[in-house]
C-alpha cells in the first residue's frame, strides 16, 4: 500500500476459493458503511465461476468504505471494502479507495491462473493432484465420495499461506483414472501413498473428508511413522448408521432434477447448492467410467444400508503417537455427528450450523481446527 495512506486502514479482500480462481463478484453486501464487524461475521455474498459462498470477516473493525460494486468482477486479492477506525481521515480513505479501484479496473493480469496439475501413478492408474504453498509441513487433503480436489477450495489458499498444501483426485474422481478396482479404501489409499511418494515426502499431515477420512486412516495404519497428524472431517466407518439412500441415489442420478435434492442433503443451508455446483457434478458423473466407479465405491462402503468399514480399528492400528482430530457438522444428514464419539483418543470439534461439508460451510472453523492439529504433531 501507498505509504501516504493510514496504516490503520484494513482491506477486506476478494478471497481465493480454489487454486484456479481468478475472479469473483459480490452479489450482495450484507454489511453497510458504518457497521461494526467482528471476526467471522458475514460480510458479503460472493459468486465465483465454481461456487457461491459468504465471505466472513478476517478482522474486526468499522466498515468505512464499500469499494466493489455488486456484480462487477474483482480479481482475487483485490480490495472490496475498507475497515478503519474513526480517526482515519476521509481523504486517506478516498485515496485508498482510488488505489483499490485501480486494481479492480485493471482486471486480471496475463499469465496468472491455475497451478499445474501434476500426476502420479498408482497400480496403473493416473492420479492427479495440485499443490501450492510455502516450504514447511506438508498437508495432503483427501476428498470424499463424489468429490474431487476442488472440494477444498475454501481452505486450500488460506492453508497454503502457512504450509505446503496438496490436494489429490482419488481414483474414480476429478481427472484421475476412473477405474477403482474393487472400490475398497485400500485401492484409494494406494493413490494417496503414490502422491506422497511422487512428492518424495517422508512425513505428511493428512486431512480426510468422509470416505477420504477412512482412506487417510488406512494410509496411516499402514505406516504410522509417515503420518504427522490426522484431521478427519465427518469420516466414514465409525458406526453402522449412514444415509445409504444418498450414496446410492448419487450414483444412480441421471438428471439435474434427480441430483439437486441429493446434493442439498450434504449441506445445512441448501442455498449453497448453486446451479453451477449441480451442473459440475452432473458433468463429472457423465464422464466415462464414473458410473461404474461410484457404484463400486457405494457397494464397498455399504453392507445393506449400513456402513461396512471399521475405522475405529484403523485408529487403534495407527496408535497414539499420531494426533487425531475429528470435525463434524452438527447438522450432518449423511453420517450422524454422534459417530464422532467413536473416534478413540481424538479431539472433537462439533460445528453448529454445518452439515456434511463443514469445510465448505464453515471453512474458517475447519481451518483453525486443522492448524491446531498440525501444531500438536511433534
Amino acid at each position: 500500500m501507498d505509504p501516504v495512506t493510514d496504516e490503520r486502514i484494513v482491506p477486506v479482500t476478494m478471497p481465493k476459493w480454489g487454486l484456479s480462481m481468478q475472479l469473483g463478484k459480490v452479489t450482495a453486501w450484507i454489511i453497510d458503511e458504518g457497521d461494526e464487524v467482528g471476526i467471522g461475521d458475514d460480510l458479503a455474498d460472493i459468486e465465483t465461476e465454481k461456487i457461491n459462498g459468504t465471505l466472513e470477516a478476517a478482522d474486526a473493525g468499522t466498515v468505512r468504505r464499500i469499494v466493489a460494486r455488486v456484480g462487477e468482477d474483482v480479481p482475487v486479492s483485490g480490495t472490496i471494502a475498507l475497515l478503519a477506525p474513526a480517526g482515519v481521515t476521509e481523504e486517506d480513505l478516498d485515496a485508498a479507495v482510488q488505489q483499490a479501484r485501480a486494481v479492480i479496473d485493471a482486471g486480471v493480469p496475463e499469465g496468472t491462473g491455475a497451478p499445474e496439475v501434476l500426476t502420479a501413478e498408482a497400480g496403473g492408474r493416473k492420479i492427479s493432484y495440485v499443490g501450492d504453498g510455502r516450504d514447511g509441513d506438508v498437508v495432503l487433503l483427501v476428498h470424499g465420495y463424489g468429490g474431487d480436489r476442488n472440494s477444498w477450495l475454501f481452505l486450500q489458499e488460506p492453508l497454503a499461506a502457512k504450509f505446503r498444501v496438496y490436494a489429490l483426485d482419488l481414483p474414480g474422481h476429478g481427472t484421475s483414472a476412473k477405474d477403482v478396482g474393487d472400490g475398497s479404501t485400500s485401492v484409494l489409499a494406494d493413490a494417496v501413498v503414490a502422491v506422497l511418494d511422487a512428492l518424495g515426502v517422508t512425513r505428511a499431515h493428512l486431512v480426510g473428508h468422509s470416505m477420504g477420512g477412512a482412506v487417510a486412516l488406512v494410509v496411516a495404519a499402514r505406516d504410522p511413522a509417515r503420518i504427522a497428524s490426522l484431521t478427519l472431517i465427518a469420516p466414514s466407518g465409525f458406526g453402522p448408521e449412514i444415509n445409504a439412500g444418498f450414496l446410492r441415489g448419487f450414483a444412480d442420478a441421471q438428471t439435474r432434477r434427480e441430483l439437486k435434492p441429493l446434493v442439498g442433503q450434504l449441506f445445512a443451508d441448501e442455498d449453497l447448492v448453486t446451479r453451477q455446483l449441480v451442473d459440475d457434478l452432473l458433468a463429472y458423473k457423465r464422464l466415462d467410467g464414473v458410473d461404474e466407479a461410484l457404484h463400486a465405491l457405494a457397494g464397498a462402503l455399504l453392507d445393506g444400508d449400513a456402513q461396512r468399514g471399521d475405522s475405529a480399528a484403523l485408529v487403534a492400528a495407527v496408535g497414539g503417537a499420531v494426533p487425531v482430530t475429528v470435525i463434524w457438522g452438527a447438522a450432518d444428514r449423511i453420517i450422524p455427528a454422534a459417530q464422532a464419539e467413536a473416534v478413540g483418543g481424538a479431539i472433537r470439534h462439533l460445528i453448529d450450523g454445518a452439515g456434511h461439508m463443514p469445510h465448505m460451510e464453515r471453512p474458517g472453523e475447519v481451518q483453525a481446527a486443522i492448524e491446531q492439529t498440525i501444531a500438536r504433531a511433534c
Binding site: 492427479s128 481427472t175 476412473k178 441421471q254 438428471t255 446451479r275 458433468a283 457423465r286 464422464l287 466415462d288
Partner: protein, 337 residues
C-alpha cells in the same frame, strides 16, 4: 481437465475417441479425408470444414471418401449399420437431403418398426445447417423440423463445444439412427471441453440461463443470439430463462413446461422458416400443456417464409437477431388483453 477448444475440435475429438474405443465406428462422406485418387495430399481436407481432419491417417481403412452419390453412400451407411458397423456418415449440407431422404426416412427410420423390432440401425448422419455464411438458398437451410417429424429418427443439434462432444459420443453409442446437426457458423466457437470421453443424454434440454420473467426456448446457434438478447433485457430488469433444447427428438417437454409454468410467458427462437417449424411445435406444446399458466400469447422468432437470400444485406435481415428477440420478449411482457 476441461480446456478451451473449438466446436470443430470437440467433434473431431469425439470421433477420434470413439473410433479408438470401438473399431466398428467408421466415417464416410464426400471429402471426409479428401484427395481420393488424386495425385496430391491424402486427407487433403478432412471434410469441407475440417471436422474429420486427421482421422484418415489415425484409423487406416476406416475413413472412406465417397463419390457424390448421397443416396448410395448414405444408404450404404444405413445398410452397414444393420450389419454390425457403427457408421458416421456425412450429409455435407442438409440442403442435399433431397437426393437421399428416402434412405433416411423410409429405410433407416422404419426398419425397426417395420421388421417387428428385429433390426437395429446405429447410424449417425452428420450434417451442416444454418445461414450466415452467404452460402445462399441451397446451402443455408435448417430443415431439422422435417427430420423431427419422422418417427424412428433422433435429431440432435449441439450449441456449444461441450455439448458437441458429449452429444456426438452419445450419438455414436446410441442404437437408433441419429441426425446430427452442426451449425456451420459455430465451428470456430470455443468453450471448455473435458479431455476425457463423456456423454450427454438425448431428451435433456439445458437451462443455460435462469430467469423468472420470460421463458425463451431455442436451439442451435440461436442459443447464443438468445443469450445476447437476454443480457440486454437483464440490464433492463427483465430476467429471461433461456432453454437450449439440444435435441428435438426426443424432446425434453418437462423442462420447457416447468419453465413456462413459472414465467407464464414464452418466446420461441428458431432459425428455420416458420411453417411446421420446431418453433411451431414448441408453441403448440405450451398451448396444449401449459395453457393455464400462459399470461400472453406465445411469440415465435423465426426466419421469414422465404428461401435464404444471398446478399449480406438480405441474409442479415433473414437471420433472427438479438433485437428481434428483445422485441418479442417485450411483446409478451407488455401484452394486455
Amino acid at each position: 481437465m476441461a480446456r478451451n477448444i473449438t466446436y470443430r475440435e470437440a467433434l473431431n475429438e469425439a470421433l477420434a475417441q470413439e473410433m479408438e474405443r470401438d473399431e466398428s465406428v467408421v466415417v464416410m462422406g464426400e471429402d471426409n479425408a479428401g484427395g481420393a485418387g488424386s495425385p496430391g495430399e491424402d486427407d487433403a481436407w478432412g471434410g469441407v470444414l475440417g471436422v474429420t481432419k486427421g482421422l484418415y491417417h489415425k484409423f487406416p481403412g476406416r475413413v472412406l471418401d465417397t463419390p457424390i452419390s448421397e443416396s448410395a453412400f448414405i444408404g450404404a451407411a444405413i445398410g452397414a449399420a444393420t450389419a454390425g458397423l457403427r457408421p458416421v456418415a456425412e450429409l455435407m449440407f442438409v440442403d442435399f437431403m433431397g437426393v437421399c431422404f428416402d434412405q433416411i426416412y423410409n429405410q433407416a427410420a422404419k426398419f425397426r418398426y417395420m421388421f417387428g423390432g428385429k433390426a437395429v440401425t446405429p447410424v449417425v448422419i452428420r450434417t451442416m445447417y444454418g445461414a450466415g455464411l452467404r452460402a445462399a438458398a441451397q446451402h443455408s437451410q435448417c430443415l431439422y423440423s422435417l427430420f423431427t417429424h419422422i418417427p424412428g429418427l433422433k435429431v440432435v443439434m449441439p450449441a456449444t463445444p461441450y455439448d458437441a462432444k458429449g452429444l456426438m459420443i452419445q450419438a455414436i453409442r446410441d442404437n437408433d439412427p441419429v441426425m446430427f446437426f452442426e451449425h456451420k457458423a459455430l465451428y470456430d466457437l470455443t468453450g471448455p471441453v473435458p479431455e476425457e470421453s463423456y456423454t450427454l443424454p438425448f431428451g435433456e434440454a439445458n437451462v443455460v440461463r435462469e430467469g423468472g420473467d420470460v421463458t425463451i426456448v431455442t436451439l442451435g446457434r440461436m442459443v447464443h443470439t438468445s443469450l445476447e438478447a437476454a443480457g440486454r433485457l437483464g440490464a433492463d430488469g427483465v430476467q429471461c430463462e433461456v432453454i437450449d433444447l439440444r435435441t428435438t427428438s426426443p424432446l425434453d417437454e418437462d423442462t420447457v413446461l416447468d419453465s413456462v409454468e413459472g414465467t407464464g410467458r414464452l418466446v420461441v427462437v428458431d432459425e428455420s422458416h416458420p411453417r411446421c417449424s420446431v418453433a411451431a411445435d414448441i408453441s403448440a406444446l405450451a398451448v396444449r400443456k401449459a395453457f393455464g399458466a400462459l399470461q400472453a400469447p406465445v411469440e415465435m422468432v423465426t426466419a421469414p417464409h422465404t428461401p435464404v437470400p444471398f446478399s449480406s444485406a438480405l441474409e442479415d435481415l433473414y437471420i433472427p437477431d438479438a433485437q428481434r428477440i428483445v422485441n418479442a420478449v417485450k411483446a409478451v411482457t407488455g401484452w394486455t388483453r
